[in-house]
């Protein structure tokens, strides 16, 4: 370390950064991520660092970005920090599913592997209470808790996913017929024998990465204050927190991330995705994702333990926490504001809670921000039509976590599609609304009854997010 030329005030210089800590911005719906929001509105709108991030933070963000973007390769390889792919996996990089840091999509016709969509597997509750308490599910005994349709050379991939749709339709009060589709999933080429007779399948499309550190920074007590598990206020909306295992604190805590809110923090979600999706071990997920019957997988070379060092996991976590939410340049336009009224009148905001205040976040940039994610981070019964019938921790087979709506209007430009919901079945926001049931049945029916103008305004508002 060559301090010679800058010794005199080196220590002082290194503290200058503290002056750049952002002052908490006042509430501005045009900046849904508070001071972290980015002006970018193009295909890179989801890939920007928090705008108020320090230069040091930007360096960590850049390093994390590299490990989020570049592919992992099979061991052994010269690149020791990037080897250890698989043996079984869904893709070889984070970016492979979180395309442009945005959403994945259901498999395209003719696509051999699903890549940005995966299938979770489990079997109904057994006597294995300990496992259930720490993993939330009982994994399918031969294939584990996730189907992996890629593998390294010499190991057989688990299966192929046959993805088809069945179609139905809904008629709006205006007379417009809206076609809906629902995936019908079959597994073929099962490489390790038949699955358990009671196996439960749940398809999941990779969600967008924006604003995750802000959601993490909402104080748990504020989220819990909105919970109403017994619906004691009688509004038909319960809102239940998922209570999930925190593998670092070794206790049950509020779940926030994933389609069923089964992970408590960005770091644990990241480690779980490295492990389940890419086959990369870390200190949080120490053993390879091979089941005992998968002998080729067990015998395959690994990338040294852990394949992902604590330091690199922290950098990828840092990156994932600091992806900025795009600004909403149209937020104050008349039609948008009208649509926002419709959003409230039809009860959407009961679960898609517009505004939150973050507390202490993972960095100063994320702390004390007024944000507009449009989620309550709670579980809601969404009815039989959407149900995956696969419980996860406290989430029932009917429940899903309210997904954030910020960035909704940017999916088309970032990802080239607007396929929404956990399995991408909805081809646009209206279809997604029409799939709402259960606690949201009443809101959906109100949307069906809207006049042409009011419906258009609602959709313009959603597209402005």
């Amino acid at each position: 370390m060559d301090f010679i030329k800058v010794t005199m005030r080196g220590a002082l210089l290194s503290a200058v950064l503290s002056l750049f800590i952002a002052v908490s911005a006042s509430a501005d719906p045009g900046r849904p991520g508070g001071a972290t929001s980015t002006q970018f509105q193009d295909a890179n709108a989801f890939s920007q660092p928090a705008s108020n991030l320090s230069l040091d933070g930007r360096m960590n963000f850049s390093i994390g970005n590299s490990f989020f973007r570049n592919p992992w390769i099979a061991a052994p390889a010269t690149t020791t920090a990037r080897d250890g792919l698989g043996p079984l996996f869904n893709t070889n990089s984070c970016q492979g599913c979180h395309i442009k840091d945005g959403r994945g999509h259901p498999p395209l016709p003719g696509q051999a592997q699903a890549v940005s969509t995966l299938i979770r597997l489990s079997i109904p509750e057994t006597q294995d209470r300990i496992r259930l308490a720490s993993e939330g599910v009982i994994a399918e005994p031969t294939y584990g808790d996730q189907l992996q349709d890629f593998s390294i050379a010499g190991v057989e991939s688990e299966a192929r996913i046959q993805w088809q749709y069945e179609y139905s339709s809904v008629e709006l009060a205006t007379g417009t017929e809206v076609s809906l589709r629902k995936p019908i999933i079959e597994l073929s080429h099962l490489a390790y024998g038949p699955m358990h007779k009671d196996v439960m399948l749940s398809p999941r499309v990779a969600p967008a990465m924006i604003g995750l550190g802000l959601l993490e920074a909402i104080p748990a007590e504020d989220i819990l204050a909105n919970a109403d598990p017994e619906d004691s206020d009688g509004d038909g909306i319960s809102g239940r927190p998922n209570s999930v295992w925190d593998g670092i604190e070794e206790t049950l805590v509020l779940g926030r991330f994933g389609w069923k809110a089964s992970k408590p923090t960005v770091k644990q979600q990241s480690a779980a995705a490295f492990f389940g999706d890419i086959g990369i071990t870390s200190n949080l997920s120490p053993s390879e994702s091979c089941m005992p019957a998968q002998t080729g997988c067990v015998a395959a070379p690994d990338g040294g333990y852990p394949e992902l060092s604590d330091e690199l996991l922290d950098l990828v976590t840092f990156y994932s926490q600091h992806l900025a939410v795009p600004e909403r340049p149209d937020h104050a336009e008349a039609q948008v504001l009208e649509g926002e009224k419709v959003f409230h009148e039809t009860g959407c905001a009961s679960c898609h809670t517009p505004q939150w205040q973050t507390g202490d976040g993972a960095s100063a940039a994320l702390s004390n921000q007024t944000i507009y994610p449009y989620t309550d981070l709670l579980l809601h019964d969404m009815g039989e039509g959407l149900a995956d019938n696969r419980p996860d921790f406290d989430a029932t087979g009917l429940e899903w976590r309210t997904p954030p709506l910020w960035g909704l209007g940017s999916y088309q430009v970032v990802n080239g599609h607007t396929q929404l919901l956990h399995d991408g079945r909805a081809r646009n926001a209206l279809e997604a609304i029409l799939w709402h049931g259960g606690e949201a049945e009443d809101s959906k029916n109100q949307v069906i009854e809207l006049s042409e103008d009011r419906l258009a305004q609602l959709l313009i508002f959603l597209d402005s997010l």
């Binding site: 060559d2 360096m59 395309i99």
Partner: protein, 427 residues
């Protein structure tokens, strides 16, 4: 020094309080006026125009060398084309200091300089050593070998490998590694894959890949490879011309005009945020620290040509140019004053310190360049177990870290409260 990259150190509270004490003693100091800051902006615009002009000039020489190579492909003309590419990279690297602060340059840049790229998208690759993103449905598209490309429900017509077509294929399917154009596409076409890993040697593409007849052609499709190289070279020139036009003081509506009309402090913020981001996030982080972590030539910036050292060095020189207001590629600039000159008037010690930090970074990175020129290139320095190489790169990272600190201190001394973007009008 490793520890500086952890969050704990970033928000080290004791240092924060020490700084507040220091700050209290110096807040009485005067700050530059808007017209003084505008004069820094004026020099910056003159420098931008000179630097972009130099980048275009060298690239035109490269274009001639590539045309000569395509006219008569032999070892000599290929060597001359490669040399011209390497020489043209130097002034180009220096204009990277105008990125980050100026969104228009960030939007423009990917078509010229996107990296890393999945080379199987462009041409044949060695199957045993080629790794690409599996979510990338066209990572092995081989645009040169195929006249059509199926992607999902679309079928793209590749018959004519025109510049427009190639530009439209960048980031196909949302994968950033699908880079069809720019410096690194040209580099891959001239050098080919570097199959030497972290051992000595760069890419070694056969001259016969560009043969004038299919009979003499190695690896097939020579006519299309020639067409491709010619089209991406022309496109690079067109793009550089557009870049030059944005800084031209003679043009009535361009970015230069927009910049000159900005509030004085916003001008300074864009100048300093740009060089600070290049110094720390891009150079120290993405291009050096990542390579040290991964020990992988896949993370090397100019990986086909092993020219990484010169790009690093000239990126650093570009940072110094912006702060010192001069470039080695042009006669002395005279309009306005430089950041360092203004700083000298308000905090001479800090100006000295910033100058020292710039010189130190340049010297330390020059050692990496000297090593590469003596036969041990960047991809060998980052080889696993090369502790001497790792130390050399770590020294450069440390120097860039201190340099960035000095840039941040200069921002404070010149009256900026924040370097962050999105703060127009909120100083």
């Amino acid at each position: 020094m490793h520890k500086v990259f952890t969050r704990q150190r970033l928000f080290a509270l004791p240092l924060y309080f020490i700084y507040l004490g220091y700050s209290a003693c110096t807040t009485a100091q005067a700050l530059p006026t808007d017209s003084e800051l505008n004069s820094v902006g004026e020099r910056y615009l003159e420098l931008a125009s000179a630097s972009f002009g130099a980048a275009l000039e060298e690239a035109l020489i490269m274009q001639q060398a590539i045309e000569a190579f395509l006219d008569q492909p032999d070892l000599e003309t290929l060597g001359a084309a490669k040399s011209a590419w390497s020489l043209a990279r130097k002034p180009y690297a220096e204009i990277e200091a105008f990125r980050f602060g100026n969104l228009i340059i960030d939007d423009w840049e990917p078509q010229l300089n996107a990296w890393p790229l999945d080379e199987g998208f462009i041409d044949y690759v060695d199957q045993g050593s080629y790794f690409y993103e599996l979510g990338n449905p066209v990572g092995q598209a081989n645009l040169i070998a195929n006249t059509s490309l199926s992607y999902g429900p679309q079928v793209l017509d590749l018959t004519d490998l025109s510049a427009d077509l190639l530009a439209s294929l960048n980031e196909l399917g949302g994968t950033e590694a699908n880079v069809a154009t720019g410096w690194h596409a040209i580099e891959f076409l001239l050098w080919g894959q570097d199959l030497n890993g972290t051992g000595p040697g760069a890419g070694n593409r056969p001259v016969a890949d560009f043969a004038l007849t299919e009979a003499e052609c190695s690896n097939g499709n020579c006519d299309r490879r020639r067409q491709y190289l010619s089209a991406v070279t022309d496109l690079l020139i067109e793009d550089l011309e557009w870049g030059v036009s944005q800084w031209d003081a003679e043009i009535a509506t361009n970015y230069q005009k927009e910049f000159a009309a900005l509030p004085a402090k916003e001008q300074l913020r864009r100048i300093l945020f740009g060089v600070g981001s290049l110094s720390l996030g891009e150079l120290a982080g993405e291009r050096m620290k990542v390579s040290l972590y991964a020990n992988s030539p896949e993370d090397e910036h100019d990986c086909f040509s092993d020219n990484t050292h010169f790009t690093l060095l000239h990126d650093q020189i570009g940072i110094a140019n912006v702060l010192q207001g001069q470039t080695g590629f042009a006669a002395p600039l005279t309009r306005g004053i430089s950041v360092v000159e203004l700083l000298e008037q308000y905090d001479a010690d800090l100006a000295q310190e910033l100058g020292n930090a710039l010189n130190n970074s340049t010297e330390v990175i020059a050692k990496i360049a000297a090593s590469a020129e003596a036969g041990i290139a960047f991809d060998q320095l980052i080889a696993p177990g090369n502790s001497e190489g790792a130390a050399m790169i770590q020294d450069a990272i440390d120097a860039l870290f201190l340099q960035t600190r000095a840039i941040e201190a200069a921002a404070v001394a010149l009256g900026l409260n924040s370097l962050a973007a999105n703060t127009e009008g909120h100083f």
